[in-house]
Symmetry: C2
DNA sequence: AGCTTCCTCAACCACATGGTTGCGCAAGGA
DNA sequence: TCCTTGCGCAACCATGTGGTTGAGGAAGCT
């Protein structure tokens, strides 16, 4: 417990069986039994996987008599892409800027190859808020 | 071993410390020691985390004397978003079509609320290839 | 009421994971 | 040459995870 939704979502999709379940639920809703028919494991195991997906907010379950139909929740997937794309864009932008610096430096001096991305053309520094600083000691601890 | 790159990538980002490392490497490359200063754990532990990220293709490490600078690899992140977005789009498209059917059925008959997404307007069925069918038994086993 | 179907919960087990410590190696500086 | 820095490897340990089986509950059928 005490784990944020994003961690749960990544943990959930880290398992191939659960990714396959997500892929199937993208096509159509399904019950536990329907899903379990496809895998070489017991229905209890599939139920556990669905519980993980549900606690990650990736699927929801309603009631239909004794059935428990499973429904994919796309906005949880959206959260994940938002996180990933944030840093991918940040990194790619930085690399593009770095390439530009290196190219413009083609006939320049030799004092290069030393962390030229810190003082890049447009300041970026450490503006983006990282989600989980899982440690108390920030900065040099010694 | 014998685990595909996508699973490795999701496993890697499932850990908050490793997500934080990715966030930092998006800003600038860093050495193991620099990263380790920020966390309440030993450098060996951070090195292990980096190994996980490296085997997932998310970071690469070069040599600079005895330093091992770590570099974020955005295309691995791109793979992940590609996977996620595929099913998010699929599901959202299906839900939009379902909503349309329900809306158009507002004055229609009462025989509804029963899996209306299977015979939707545009046939989609099970076209998208799921990545890991981790089971041998496909189709009704009985 | 009693049976069947669909599913969850609880206990258990093997193995993976995240952390530790200790050791050792490669490369630069004294 | 020796020492320090920076880092990886191996062994170890506690906990988490993915599977099993067994029991049992909720809802429809006869």
């Amino acid at each position: 417990m005490a784990v944020d939704q994003l961690s749960r979502a990544f943990v959930a999709l880290a398992d191939p069986t659960r990714r396959d379940i997500v892929a199937r639920l993208a096509v159509r809703d399904a019950t536990v039994g329907e899903l379990a028919e496809s895998y070489a494991m017991s229905m209890q195991a599939v139920s556990k996987h669905l519980k993980v997906l549900e606690e990650a907010g990736l699927v929801s379950r309603s009631r239909d008599a004794q059935r428990r139909p499973c429904h994919l929740e796309p906005q949880a997937l959206d959260q994940m892409t938002t996180w990933i794309e944030q840093y991918r864009h940040q990194a790619e932008g930085r690399f593009r800027r770095l390439d530009a610096v290196l190219a413009a430096m083609g006939d320049g001096p030799d004092a290069a190859t030393e962390t030229p991305e810190a003082p890049a053309t447009t300041s970026e520094q450490h503006t983006t808020p990282r989600d989980n600083p899982p440690e108390p000691s920030r900065g040099a601890p010694s």
